[in-house]
């Protein structure tokens, strides 16, 4: 990098955040640990280079970040000393991690009685104690060049670290992430969660993001997930941020041979949500299920963008994402399946469907196949439309009022996606969330 560099003009919003990084970096957890510093610095550079991507950037073609860029966020630097009421979904007997505005709150978590081989810790603590094992995960799985995850690396103060020893079945663990912004100013937080499953380990992770206050906040999350050979992670995510919240998430997953990542993401909150998943299958016979549903109403904008990298032979991936839009909502689905030359015998399937329920809703979809191996079976499908008139008529002709008939069909559309979750109790939770959303949404007569 000795060549004279033309320094591009950095937008004020970007330089404000970079200044914050410059001011904070000596006090952030892990400061003065060389590799952590280098990781943060790389992140800051990625953010400096990419900033808040505009719609001219292909990956952001359909999502406008100007509202996010123009909001002035304060740092949620001082730990919020609140004792919030936990959402209903936080119940149950399983181990529980509570993150409040991105900070690990041991006092609200339930971490006693963890089985042998199950470790749950705060990222801040681990960074401060220079846990060298983190190096193999932290910043090692998420792509290094993405700007918002870069900003996360620069400013991440905390997060949950879950590590399961080889061969251990860890049962269920719940993450409850609460966003409680003060009402007088907007705050941003950048949590980073790490989930590491040793060979043959298994876990069901219930991962909820909930808005608990009235203020505006921006959760800029990165999760890095490493699944060792033959490991199995069921990851059910519920994004139910506050209505005025911004939610940008990158979930980066590495799936080794014979391991399986089975995820379902239900998106129903935040004024602007970008859920990005990058999954790479690195060993033969790995499997990936990346399903989800987006429920978008009012003026909200929800974007699901996924990249599935088949980097090994004999792997399977499938994906079904459904989006329901009402009001003036905008939905985005971008899904790329990349099959590398070595990834012979890949079986890849992707389906995305959108239901437009109002004249002003909008959907943009870009399913994408990029294939460099010949012995593969890859397909994708996409449909966009409204409720089926014949079905509606059929229900009404049996005496069901129109509004109810619509509800039935919308629920059927969503149930079809949710049914991909194999655990019955989790399915019920998700369906309850979709029901609740549908009840909240205003239905024009």
């Amino acid at each position: 990098m000795n060549a004279p560099v033309v320094v591009p003009a950095v937008a004020p919003a970007v330089s404000a955040l970079l200044d914050r990084y410059a001011g904070l970096k000596d006090r952030l957890p892990g400061a003065r640990i060389a590799w952590v510093e280098a990781w943060r610095q790389r992140g800051a550079e990625a953010f400096r280079a990419g900033g808040f991507p505009t719609k001219r950037v292909e990956a952001w073609k359909y999502t406008d970040l100007s509202a996010l860029r123009e909001t002035r966020f304060e740092e949620a630097l001082v730990a919020t000393d609140a004792h919030p009421v936990l959402p209903e979904q936080a119940g149950g007997e399983e181990a529980r991690i509570v993150l409040l505005d991105g900070r690990f709150r041991a006092d609200l978590s339930r971490l006693d009685g963890l089985a042998d081989g199950v470790r749950i810790e705060s990222l801040a603590d681990l960074l401060s104690s220079d846990d060298d094992a983190l190096r193999e995960v932290l910043g090692a799985i998420a792509p290094a060049d993405l700007p918002l995850p870069g900003l996360n690396a620069a400013l991440a103060e905390d997060g949950a670290v879950i590590r399961i020893a080889p061969g251990v079945d860890a049962g269920r663990i719940r993450i409850v992430s609460l966003g409680i912004a003060p009402s007088n100013h907007a705050v941003a937080f950048h949590p980073r969660n790490l989930v590491v499953l040793g060979a043959g380990a298994s876990l069901t992770l219930l991962d909820g993001a909930h808005g608990a206050g009235k203020g505006t906040y921006w959760q800029n999350l990165v999760a890095e997930i490493a699944l060792g050979e033959g490991a199995r992670l069921t990851h059910v995510r519920l994004q139910d941020e506050a209505r005025d919240a911004f939610h940008t998430a990158l979930v980066a997953v590495r799936v080794e041979a014979k391991a399986e990542y089975d995820s379902f993401t239900l998106v129903r909150g935040a004024r602007l949500a970008r859920n990005e998943v990058h999954a790479v299958l690195t060993g033969p016979k790995a499997a990936l299920h990346l399903n989800g549903a987006q429920l978008v109403d009012g003026e909200r904008h929800a974007d699901t963008t996924t990249v599935i990298d088949h980097a090994a032979p004999d792997c399977e991936s499938n994906q079904t994402v459904k989006t329901v839009l009402t009001g003036r909502a905008r939905g985005v689905f971008q899904g790329k399946i990349h099959v590398h030359r070595v990834a012979q015998k890949t079986d890849g399937y992707q389906m995305n469907q959108a239901l437009l329920l109002s004249p002003e809703a909008e959907i943009n979809a870009k399913p994408q196949l990029e294939i460099y191996a010949d012995d593969v079976k890859c397909s994708h499908g996409a449909t966009v439309g409204e409720l089926d008139h014949d079905q509606l008529f059929y229900l009404r002709s049996r005496g069901i009022p129109e509004v109810e008939a619509k509800s039935i069909l919308v629920q059927a559309f969503l149930t079809d996606a949710v049914s991909l979750v194999s655990d019955e109790a989790l399915r019920e939770t998700l369906l309850a969330a979709t029901d609740a959303w549908w009840d909240e949404v205003e239905h024009p007569a």
């Binding site: 292909e58 030359r341 012979q344 959108a354 437009l356 329920l357 109002s358 004249p359 002003e360 809703a361 909008e362 959907i363 943009n364 979809a365 870009k366 399913p367 994408q368 196949l369 990029e370 294939i371 460099y372 191996a373 010949d374 012995d375 593969v376 079976k377 890859c378 397909s379 994708h380 499908g381 996409a382 449909t383 966009v384 439309g385 409204e386």
Partner: protein, 485 residues
């Protein structure tokens, strides 16, 4: 896998020299010096004795082009093009304003077209097909003009249209592809030298297939032709273009623009068999085919149907599109694209639904072999007024060998809930059991592959006019020779 590799070997030997259209015509040429600036634009316009308004239009396009940058979003790779290192006008030396009739055409040129399988003498032609032959920068002959004139159909070279029908050209030129539309369209608008012009009057069903045969012959030249087809209310025309070029080590640029306008209840069927020189087995040489094709369904119930068989060119960058304005108008895109050796194709379509009850169909069949890279890129956009719009897209890719790539990049944008969009895409290779089945019935592996590939492309090939369907089938097989397998 082994069987495929084996075939790859066997047929690789045959590959070289299968491009049988690669000869060069020795003819005295008039070529203007290399380079591109405003003076060159003026010179081209002067050579064509164009009216002032057209020169002004070219200059506006040139200035727009200068301020633009070459697009980089397509999945194609090539070294930077030096736009100053090419001739922008080359024409066979002829009498001042071109030949008046076939008798005046240089016999060497007639022989060239005969060799290409396009005899220009009317008595030898397929009775149902009229041809405009474009050689480098100029049209050298147009057949059946008089017969067509009887029903009011105008079919002539673009230059002639500018001279004889300036009001029509002025009215429609640039109304579908504006001069500043994109980098290559702007370049074309500045320096286009000839092309075909078609006008079908109200209520006329064009009595024969119209076709233009493009031939690049001169060295270091680009070909920049422009085609404009206007179909008035209730008319019908089927038009076909074919293209070939000599085998050369250099890359040559072809940047064409095609504009179609269909008024109320008019139908335009536009078919292309693109067989530009694809370069050799090592990827040396070949045409850069950067083409802007767009049709506007202006009238209600109008229809524009694109069919393309893309077998040639080193690089193809091409998205024949439909703007569906008129209520109930219909857009279709049927495409077969083959990339073999080191060919790269990034091709697809845009269907822009503006009007209510508009319908579009996209069927794309991509075949990649050798080191070929084949990308389908398509946009289906439903605008708020496009009530009850419908789109169906089927996009299939076939991979032959493990060094090639097949990519699918559809964009689906809907802003009307009553619209219905369906997209399906698959990628696979020729199944071993299909190959074995054919071979166990006595077909060689190469024959078997040809048969299966033609089957794969059947849905598109059946859209071609009869006269060309057979030729296209053969072309598919030939294009796969050498990498087949």
């Amino acid at each position: 896998m082994p069987a495929v590799a084996e075939t790859l070997e066997t047929v690789r030997d045959v590959t070289q020299g299968t491009y049988k259209w690669g000869f060069e015509t020795e003819i005295e040429q008039e070529v203007i010096p290399k380079g591109l600036d405003e003076d060159v634009v003026r010179l081209i316009s002067a050579k064509k004795q164009e009216p002032e308004w057209l020169l002004e239009w070219r200059l506006k396009a040139f200035r727009a082009w200068q301020s633009m940058t070459e697009p980089t979003w397509a999945a194609v790779k090539y070294p930077p093009i030096d736009y100053q290192d090419a001739h922008y006008y080359a024409a066979p030396k002829a009498k001042a304003d071109g030949p008046k009739s076939l008798e005046e055409v240089d016999p060497e040129l007639l022989r060239t077209y005969e060799k290409l399988g396009i005899p220009l003498k009317e008595q030898e032609r397929l009775a149902g097909v009229a041809v405009d032959a474009v050689f480098d920068s100029v049209s050298v002959a147009t057949t059946f003009k008089d017969k067509l004139a009887e029903v009011g159909v105008i079919f002539c070279s673009f230059s002639e249209a500018v001279r004889e029908h300036p009001e029509l050209v002025k009215r429609w030129l640039g109304t579908v592809v504006p001069y500043g539309d994109n980098f290559f369209a702007a370049l074309n608008s500045a320096v286009f030298s000839d092309g075909s012009f078609v006008y079908i009057p109200k209520g006329v069903r064009c009595p024969m297939e119209l076709s233009t045969y493009f031939r690049i012959n001169a060295k270091n030249t680009g070909q920049f032709e422009r085609t404009l087809i206007v179909a008035e209310e209730g008319s019908y025309v089927s038009y076909l273009e074919g293209c070939t070029a000599p085998m050369r080590d250099e890359n040559q640029l072809h940047a064409a623009v095609v504009e179609l306008i269909a008024l109320d209840e008019a139908t335009i069927k536009y078919s292309t068999v693109q067989n530009w020189y694809p370069g050799d087995a090592e990827g040396k040489g070949g045409i850069y085919n950067f083409v802007t094709k767009r049709g506007a369904c202006r009238g209600r119930k109008s229809k524009i149907s694109w069919t393309q068989v893309e077998t040639g060119s080193a690089i193809t960058w091409k998205y024949p599109s439909c703007i569906l304005q008129g209520e109930g108008s219909v857009g279709e895109f049927y495409s077969v694209a083959i990339t073999n050796n080191f060919q790269q194709a990034d091709t697809g379509t845009k269907m822009i639904h503006l009007g209510p009850n508009t319908r579009s169909t996209i069927v794309s069949k991509g075949i990649s072999a050798g080191h070929g890279q084949n990308t389908y890129r398509g946009l289906v956009r439903i605008m708020p007024r496009a009530k009850n719009a419908r789109n169906f897209t089927q996009c299939d890719s076939l991979l032959i060998g493990d060094q090639c790539g097949a990519h699918t990049v559809p964009y689906i944008e809907s802003r009307n809930p009553t619209a219905k969009v369906e997209h399906e895409a698959t990628t696979s290779r020729i199944a071993e059991d299909q190959l074995f089945y054919c071979r166990s019935r006595g077909l060689t592996e190469e024959e078997a592959v040809g048969l299966i590939v033609n089957g794969f492309a059947r849905e598109v090939l059946k859209e071609l006019p009869m006269e060309f369907a057979v030729e296209a089938q053969k072309l598919l097989a030939i294009s796969l020779e050498g990498s087949v397998g």
